[in-house]
Symmetry: C3
Subunit: 340 residues, 3 copies
């Protein structure tokens, strides 16, 4: 696929070769994210970081990625602060904002909104989440994390065994990751969810047609038994058809250290798209896993910066120039201390 000047809107845009190219560029960003070197290649370039729905993590991640390449960031972080509330169309917003900046990152609560915006934009647009629909950089950082975690064990994504746990019906992160995994070979997927929150059938059928092994279950213990990765998600009570149904599954999809020790193979990697709900009534990843070295959830967000730097670099066609605009970091950086 061609990246230069392209919009990044959906995981459907990517083929395996394109993904591997993104990952190779992401790897080359590590010295900048680690503050071993800085680069000023995008000095003078402007990102419009348009968040019409709150998301501190994703917004700051994109902003930092652009800053780390030397560019400037202009932002909006609330729909109320926008002329969209005065009846302005996405078409008009796109025509106007694309006159200001070199590239636009956009999050918006409505499905399809970012693609509509992109079709009117005069500069490349990266979808940072359009409601329940797509959030391609999240899927890429998830897959990139899987690749890196497996590489540590001298494995590759081909042959991966993964369990997806929780709300598999509504979670866009799960759907997008499953689509990307479909591009690889011999994936074994355990879909662990309450019956009412099962993975949509078209996604399952597509994976099977591509020759992957897909197993659905409502038993977490069974699903996480023989896998390399457990990918858990939030399960919101209001997604269930009734409170009775919600109560029935309460706590059954919550992973903690005891369950991990009893049911998982040693060194099974734990992932989550975040934010993790740490309130006592939540049903996902227990805090007692925080000291488990296989908890990869913060390596995921670290990898997000690398993936976003890679996307900016590819779309703005600077991958060959980054390193010639580099210089060493001279300030204290915690990243070189043992406890980082």
């Amino acid at each position: 696929m061609e990246f230069v000047g392209s919009h990044i809107l959906s995981v459907d845009q990517f083929d395996r070769k394109g993904i591997e190219h993104i990952f190779a560029i992401a790897d080359s960003m590590q010295p900048y994210a680690d503050r071993i070197r800085i680069t000023r290649i995008l000095q003078g370039a402007i990102l419009s970081n348009m968040f019409f729905e709150p998301s501190t993590r994703t917004r700051v991640s994109f902003g930092c990625a652009f800053n780390l390449l030397g560019g400037e960031v202009r932002e909006t972080s609330e729909i109320k602060a926008s002329s969209l509330t005065k009846g302005e169309s996405l078409y008009d917003s796109a025509r106007v904002l694309s006159g200001y900046s070199d590239i636009i990152v956009m999050r918006h609560p409505e499905s399809g909104s970012v693609a509509e915006f992109a079709s009117a934009s005069r500069v490349p647009v990266i979808n940072a989440g359009d409601g329940p629909n797509e959030h391609p950089s999240q899927a890429l950082l998830d897959l990139y994390t899987i690749k890196k975690e497996l590489n540590e064990k001298s494995r590759s994504v081909d042959g991966l065994r993964i369990a997806m746990v929780g709300d598999l019906k509504y979670g866009r992160a799960v759907h997008s990751l499953l689509k990307l995994l479909g591009l690889f070979k011999d994936i074994t997927i355990h879909l662990v969810s309450p019956p009412d929150l099962k993975t949509p059938d078209d996604i399952v059928q597509q994976l099977k047609q591509l020759g992957h092994a897909v197993h659905a279950t409502d038993s977490m213990e069974e699903g996480i038994h023989h896998v390399d990765i457990v990918y858990t998600t939030r399960t919101q009570e209001e997604r269930f058809p009734s409170q009775t149904e919600a109560d029935r599954y309460k706590g059954l999809f919550r992973l903690n250290q005891a369950i991990y020790t009893e049911f998982c193979e040693p060194n099974t990697v734990i992932m989550h798209p975040l934010p993790r709900d740490s309130r006592s009534q939540a049903q996902e990843l227990d805090d007692d896993l925080n000291t488990n070295p296989n908890l990869a959830i913060f390596r995921q967000t670290d990898n997000g910066v690398l993936i976003r730097m890679a996307l900016f670099s590819l779309v703005l066609d600077i991958t060959d120039q980054i390193h010639s605009h580099a210089s060493p970091v001279t300030w204290f950086t915690a990243r070189r201390t043992p406890n980082y």
Copy 2:
């Protein structure tokens, strides 16, 4: 007029020579806005971009203009986020904030607030809109757009024929633009509005005293017949004295392609201060004009960046230095592609 170190608060500050100077500097900013070159002349300078009323477009436009000159931007975008809500006076806010930055851009819902703030500020202040009162950079970008559109046809602002359409009673953009037009020669102005939303009489009288031709009408078809520019504005229903009155004029001031074709001279330029209300019940510029090459509304917002760069450059006295701090752009820029 003297720009260096001055506040930019009102269109009343400008004479024709000053305006032409601003426009000449704005012209020289084009290579930077087009990403042919970057300049770092304001590296180390800080703009405080203080928006105590939401306006994504204007806020981002000012911020990008400052970034394009190499400066940094600190922002506020909501009155709730401000100590103004804790009873702090504009005097105190101005004394404090002017200790942080090199220049301040301020929007505030109350008429006169920005001038009051500026009188206590220790650094130059640019008014980005103080309620119904003034928004001088909008008036300048409107006039600059008129100049450029006419120059394309080997014409100048002198001798312009323009129709202003919609709510001419409350629209500050219209009032300010009319004041600036008054500084030029032989302007013919058609004021098209419902009787209850007519242009204030003092503005009309001033234009007549300056020798311009002013015609008022409530018929859009009549007003837009023989003009170079149609400048339309939002007409908010709540501005009418009664719903009966609002209903009576519903749709009568809405320009669309059919009306344009039937009543306007060929190549009549269409302008609007934006945001345009694209909801079906709105009464201004129809979306079917989007493919009309004479729709200049996005050239207006593009020009806004040039005007704001010019104002920053003049106030901070860097117009002679910009080009010696320039270097070529090496990243992909959509601005050099045919579809931009």
Copy 3:
């Protein structure tokens, strides 16, 4: 004390030698804050300026301080815009955000929250206010202002006579400043407050044990009689046990020019942590003091930038490198005009 890589969470961290080191570095920042020179030493570094409670002044002050050192700033300014509202723990927020930036400044409404966040952060954290608890850079800028104001009179902090006026029970600024003053010698402190809003006893006892003279009174006139500094604070009516009590003290702790002239020694310096409540019903510093040259409240906020630059420089270990990355300022700067 060791600054490099440390969190700055509480005034309890500082000893006198450490404070004097911070102040010496702050002094050396003056040419940059005055726009005589710029430095680019932190070019490529990123501050995450996380304000989970509104505070335009403090947020912009920290942001400008980082920009003046050449770094970039990513921000959040509202708790609603945060995944904290989705049940994310401070632990998770800290792990994630510290993967993005080089240093974090954080304000949060809950006491102890910033320390909890810092304990999970992988990069240094500066507390910019955790509810009623701590705001160490405010205490430092207050003390730094006292030092500079006294130095103007060839005096030092040792031997200082100061009156603290207003709500001394809840004001964190007062408590922190008193703790820092305790590190110096022969301080005479007049604590002026309504009986229900007295300074907590442990703070008073500690000062006495350190050999300082502490006098408590509910008469402002008596307290401000023989001092070098009057430090006033907001007194919020809702802090009183009853409206009767609030009414009883209404206006009794409001300093104005007449009271100043009658009761204060010549050139007594007036300070306030800001924001000052300028509404007519407020009970603190009258606007008629604005032309009094001894009103130091805006010198305090100016000094805040120097203190924050010093803290960033010390924590990021760049104090020796700043000046070798410096160059002259070439734009107009109001800071060199007589009226600044």
